[in-house]
Symmetry: C2
Amino acid sequence: MTTPLRLGIAGLGTVGTGVVKIVQHHAALLAARTGRQIVITAVSARSRAKHRGVRLADYAWEDDPVALATRADVDVFVELVGGDSGPALGATRAAIAAGKDVVTANKAMLAHHGQALAEAAEAAGRVIRFEAAVAGGIPVIKALTEGLAGNEMTRIMGVMNGTCNYILTRMESAGLTYDAVFQEAADLGYLEADPNLDVGGIDAGHKLALLAAIAFGTRVDFASVTLEGIQRITIDDIRQAADMGFRIKLLGVAQLTGRGLEQRMTPCLVPAASPLGQLEGGTNMVVLEGDSVGQTVLRGAGAGSGPTASAVMSDVIDIARGTRITTFGQPATSLTAATAAPSATAVPFYLRMTLQDKPGALAKIATVLGDNGISIDRMRQYDHPGPNAPVLIVTHKAMRDALDHAIAGMAGTGVLVGEPVALRIEEV
Amino acid sequence: MTTPLRLGIAGLGTVGTGVVKIVQHHAALLAARTGRQIVITAVSARSRAKHRGVRLADYAWEDDPVALATRADVDVFVELVGGDSGPALGATRAAIAAGKDVVTANKAMLAHHGQALAEAAEAAGRVIRFEAAVAGGIPVIKALTEGLAGNEMTRIMGVMNGTCNYILTRMESAGLTYDAVFQEAADLGYLEADPNLDVGGIDAGHKLALLAAIAFGTRVDFASVTLEGIQRITIDDIRQAADMGFRIKLLGVAQLTGRGLEQRMTPCLVPAASPLGQLEGGTNMVVLEGDSVGQTVLRGAGAGSGPTASAVMSDVIDIARGTRITTFGQPATSLTAATAAPSATAVPFYLRMTLQDKPGALAKIATVLGDNGISIDRMRQYDHPGPNAPVLIVTHKAMRDALDHAIAGMAGTGVLVGEPVALRIEEV
């Protein structure tokens, strides 16, 4: 047996304490599987006094994660602080500079600084691994970077924010409004400190950008992800979708075509009977499509102490076993800068809007759609008590840019109240 | 860039030619991802003359796989010959003795000789990897051995024989008899040379035994897998199951309990709406359950040239990158010999039998069940033209050994015609 692998863990929230528990409870199992002892030598968090339900007395304590990351008795810096910059970034940089390997669950940091961090780590002969950053316990980074590495990947898709999926499925099952379920999620502690990271699709967008970099050998380009949150989805949208045999999911899609790299994280209608449509609550699903393997689907817990700690430990175990994979599956300096491209696929759209209830209003909207080459599959005006009429339109297949052009044109009709909601209908 | 990694491929059937195609078509991609050229130096197959649709002229030809496996210009022996012993085993042993790493798709060989081969490889400092041996393109060996290695695994389940799943789903969708669909599958080339490997559950049982060894750190124990094929499933069974909201799947389950290691590969009723129940045709699904991660589900193509070659290449890429994992995820000498244990879970059973149509026949059967502590949830006697009455019984939860005891007892009643079919009803 070689020397122990020594971890320094920064961040002792739900994931950090989960990692401590696995290291403590499964010491023999980990040693059998890696041929080494895996030990924790030092930890760091904001509050030393906080009770966390795990024994920390045997580990050195550092108030400053940078001090932790650079300790001589730490081989692997486990970054569970979070945040796209600040202490997490500073400590990660310091760890690499000090010759440590890094394991992180921080999608925000990697989505913004992954390229620079990966280059620095690779120049120093160190690895940065981030299985826990995407889809919680599902070993999707490993599947994509290693398990499917013989494929030219053609498309990746995923429902990768458990909070959004919880909100959408709970609205449907309990018949509650978005605001009511949002408040519930907040009370249950499901939301990030900045809830917009969740419901605005940003967190899921970070994850998609990381997967796309691995899949297509392109530099992480979070800025080019088309992002749309779930905040404008109403219980009526969910019911209308259900009537048509669909459910609404915050769905990520990335593909590299002749036009460039398409990345979007937007609410979509997917068939209720499809695997994506059946996804309940905080469960995540990632669909990986490659030229040889076809479609591979992974489903599991997208968050939570145990699942995320399981993913962190998979990276730690890799390092203990001597497995050394570059951050994005090929040298960071070899990643190409792809051109961002809009979706190249025409799909039907679900279009909900409110019109002033006056003669000819609907005709004006239909005319604008027609002028933009968009034909209507079905249209429905709801019963309505007030002066404005809610209208639902399902289009035949259309390109998103044509639809956006049409929506811009609708503003000029003078009959539109507020902004339409337009959702892709995906036959996944 | 270090020296090229040189492959010697034995077996040029559908999988072997698929591997050749990936190596030829994705040379740049593979080099980018591994930092090395991956090249084929020599190949071997039964017929040199056969046209295979790939260019082989650049590679040395060996008629004898042992000669291929021991060539000085081969680093990795890719064993795609198949068969639990014979040339595959001889060449694999020779490769290890000659200091080669081995990549194989051969579940039969590993189910029977995996322990000895792994010990030999580890003593020689070589690896044997077998992603392609289980569930085709799904990277399940990697997920279990590496991605979930921080977990004590609690249970694994899977539908892992595409041919059986094709037969069962096709019987249902086309309303055809087992014999008719079996013939179809034979005509389509879906069946192994010995069809009993497929429909007898043996092939899937091999796969389950390999997964169990990794999951539970136990020696591969194929001999202890409770095996039951699909040959006795009738279209009536499938219809009766459908009426109750179930579908029949050849389902593998392995778990390590206080009683020992339970391994079974048997046709079961699973809810039609469950992910396993919805599995169509040749698709495979594996469910991995761990103490931290909870349930992780992987779905994908279980066979075919592209998917299986994708899995072979994942192992080749690992070796090219310097990743070296032991065959079963821990040293082979450290694997324990588990005691085989029957299922420790009481479940409802679907029980179909034929009775002589005479007064009191059904009462006698019911009495035998009652005497064995098995209560009846529902019972149905079909319309029948002939002298014998087909009877369907669904039991309340019962242990399998009690049911087996009851079935043995039924023979003594003198009213039973033939052997009952008993299928577990699994609430997966």
